[in-house]
């Protein structure tokens, strides 16, 4: 078909050049009208296959070109998406909105830019998403032999252009290979995930293998119902990824401002977790898809501790929360909410094979969903387990347990960590939105419930 040839020429570098011209035009329009601006242009190509019962239930492909704009005038703030075909109209309308506002208590001058352009591209991913054809992934991962499994596999390329009134001018190009698979074996199931900036087949195959192994291991054991109580618990990386993302979210100063953080009132130096726990935001890790060298205000990102050996190191800030709460930007800007980009829990000393042994008697839980806070400020919450979950006696799994609930408090859970494995997995899935490098965690006295 004729348009295919046109498309192949249009996208890629040539298209980016054209988009740069659009952003330059937007800059020329907005610059005389406001005190400060940031223009953020994104071209994202993404393709995904979704699995059900070992077959592709749908294959999807997305091409998006977006232009977002932050503006400030006389300490009034606005955030807009701009239609590139109505550039002048949209920008003038946005500026006229600001004239009707009062000064924002959230306003802070944009910080001096200190980022740099960067790219982390896997050509195989780039080529695949530009064509939208993932049929090679089906072959590479031998999906026809996967058995009864559901899941998704996605490849994406995100090109971004950043331009600010403070002189920041950066670009980034990042590829991503992310997926998760839930494998069923009779009444049992196991689920695992992977994420990377590279088309890493070993990573994906390993995740599929673990999901299969968990389903099989659970299926071989008798089933039992958990008795509500407080237990020693070994949490797998899927659960740890979910819970630790909640900790990082609570460490966003924006959540403090909005009154939804259990870390509210904490200061750097306060003990908030077991000394075994060290949690970092690692935007400069090139292996994880949250990799970036500048934040949304153009500030250079850096890897940083959120919790080091159990001690709180400080909130994640953009310029606005830093002004409001006191402090300095940590290079974690979203325009409104500070955010983490990639997370990691630093490795512990436990070997994975020793984890059961160290658990002794308790439960090994591998996956969860539907985490909800009873009280954001006190950190009480519950989350429901799913997939393989094991009752462990004398260091050996003896039964597979039905869906239960962790119903506890985040501050208490953080202090109950007794062991951390050396081995870690890069997790990102439906319940873990931030790419996270996470080990297993061994905890004590965790409250588990189940309807009786």
């Amino acid at each position: 078909m004729v348009w295919r040839a046109t498309y192949k020429i249009k996208r890629g570098e040539i298209y980016m050049n054209e988009f740069e011209d659009v952003i330059e035009r937007a800059k020329n329009i907005v610059e005389p009208l406001v005190d400060e601006y940031i223009l953020l242009g994104t071209i994202k190509d993404e393709a995904m296959i979704k699995l059900a019962h070992g077959e592709i239930s749908v294959a999807q492909s997305w091409n998006d070109i977006d232009l977002d704009m932050y503006i400030a005038k006389n300490e009034r703030i606005g955030i807009y998406t701009i239609n590139v075909k109505k550039l002048e109209d949209d920008i003038r309308k946005a500026v006229s909105d600001l004239e009707k506002l009062e000064k924002s208590p959230f306003y802070a001058p944009l910080p001096q830019p200190s980022g740099k352009s960067d790219k982390e591209i896997d050509p195989k991913i780039k080529n695949a998403v530009e064509s939208g054809d993932l049929s090679f992934v089906v072959e590479d991962l031998e999906l026809k032999n996967i058995g009864d499994a559901a899941g998704m596999i996605t490849l994406s390329l995100t090109n971004e252009l950043f331009l600010s009134s403070t002189g920041g001018k950066y670009s980034s190009s990042i590829t991503k290979f992310n997926g998760y698979v839930r494998v069923f074996k009779d009444e049992s199931s196991g689920q695992w995930s992977w994420t990377s900036t590279k088309y890493s087949l070993p990573l994906a195959k390993n995740a599929i293998g673990i999901a299969k192994e968990l389903a099989n291991d659970c299926n071989k054991l008798p089933r039992t119902k958990l008795e509500p109580g407080a237990y020693r618990v070994l949490l797998g990386p899927m659960i740890v990824g979910n819970l630790i993302e909640e900790v990082a979210r609570a460490a966003s100063a924006g959540m403090v401002v909005f009154g939804m953080s259990f870390l509210i009132g904490k200061k750097p130096g306060d003990e908030v977790a077991s000394e075994k726990l060290t949690l970092k935001d690692i935007p400069l890790n090139r292996e994880l898809p949250g990799f970036r060298s500048y934040d949304q205000e153009g500030v250079g990102t850096k890897n940083k501790y959120i919790i080091e050996n159990g001690v709180f190191k400080g909130f994640l800030h953009n310029s606005k929360t830093a002004k409001l709460l006191g402090g300095e930007t940590t290079g974690n800007a979203g325009w409104i909410m500070p955010q983490s980009f990639n997370l990691e829990i630093t490795e512990g000393e436990l070997k994975s094979e020793e984890a059961f042994e160290n658990l002794k008697n308790g439960y090994f839980l591998t996956n969860n969903w539907y985490t909800r806070f009873q009280n954001y400020l006190e950190g009480t919450f519950s989350t429901v387990t799913r997939d393989a979950a094991f009752k462990v006696e004398n260091g050996k799994p003896v039964a597979c347990v039905e869906r239960a609930r962790i119903a506890d408090s985040m501050p208490r859970i953080l202090k109950s960590i007794e062991g951390i494995t050396k081995e870690r997995w890069p997790i990102e899935w439906w319940e873990v939105g931030t790419p996270t490098l996470t080990p297993y965690l061994l905890l004590s006295g965790i409250k588990l419930t189940i309807p009786q």
Partner: protein, 478 residues
Amino acid sequence: MSLVDDIEIKNLEEAVGRLSVNGAIYGEIRFHRNRSLNITVMNGVVLGIGRETKEGYGVRSIVSGGLGFASTNNLSKEGLNNALERSLSAARTASRGVKQKVSMSPARLGRASYFIKPKRSFEDEPIDVKISRLIEAYKSLKLSENSFKVSSVNIVYRESVEEKILITSDGALIESRTPRISVFYNISAQYEGKRANRWFQVGGSGGLEILEENRLDKLMNDDIESLYINLVKAKNPPKGVMDVIISPEIVGLAVHESSGHPSEADRILGREAAQAGLSYRTFYKGTRIGSRYVTVVDDPTIPGSYGFYLYDDEGVSARTRYLYKDGELGELLHNRETASIYGTTSNAAARAMDYRSEPIVRMANTYFVPGDYTFDELLEDIKNGVYIKKYMEWNIDDIRWGQRYVGLEAYLIRNGELKEPVRDVAFEVTTREFYTSIDAVGKDLKFYAGTCGKGEPAQGVPVWFGGPHIRLREVRFI
């Protein structure tokens, strides 16, 4: 032309035709535009505003039993053509080795245009008046009483307009425009070292009249009172087996989670197994799920509702669906794909969040059908129990069986009378226990707004959920 100024229907019809020419047994193009204005107010001062327009084409095709979806926000002919090609290519990829071939059930498809005309359109009020309205609501709040203090109040106002043109290769042509308003707020409070928060959402389809029908000042002051009761007045919660009355806001949540979601046919078939999970209805033996007082309905056609639509995103005419009827399991929620597998017809449950989203099986407005009890009549037969008026936490497992609710504002009941408040009262039940323990249903009916998440990539769609007060016997509090 069309309801949407710059989109030519004949161009879309011609494009759908090209999907068929290139091998698709089914083709569908949806132009989808979501425009919104957001105003964020923190402690009575505007933080900032935002405007967003997301528009583009979503294209689906079925080739050799494989389903492909592609989207673009490049509205040029070139952009649409490219999306057509990617959709066909994706469908071919999906068809590789597929045994369960995708097809669309026959349906009586609509050729219609509809748009919701607000009583008071968004344009009737300039931004500064809208802002004043939010600030005035804040100023009305009672922010402290002795040591009890409200530490923060954040309000996010959102007005949006959703416009769609849907064309399918088998004859559907639906144009629609739906304006909506939602207001989300979070209130945090503290008292003698204890802290709690309450978030809430108001939402409906229509215009500014929604704000007049849902008085923010009243809602927020009432929630501050609930926080005061929770932090200052409430005693330790009871444990053990007791009767309970739950309010419409908890009933609505419960029917959404444990009646609506498990009745989604795609979930039962395993299409969402790795994401939002499965359904107990896949494994359930028998047809009875609750007492004879239990009837749960999902209805997209309720005027003014947050989940309102007249035709779904596959062009099928919307109607009321009985999910549970007189305690028996009722019909499933279907789109044309799942209806085809079940050998039935779609009941118009296909919804897509935006142009980037494939239409999947969704709820609209789910509610427990009221009975004939007054609140006092529900109370009078309880010797020892709990009334839960507002919740602060809930969740349910991935087969929609084990569920949990925690009260923000709750009271003990003794000998048919409301007594002292209790803090953070919690109960967990299975879906069958929940519905079989209902022995009386109130005559009131109230709806609540929410955003329901499902799919991959996740899609959040506006829904209402609601019901009357209901009474459950012998529930275990933990």
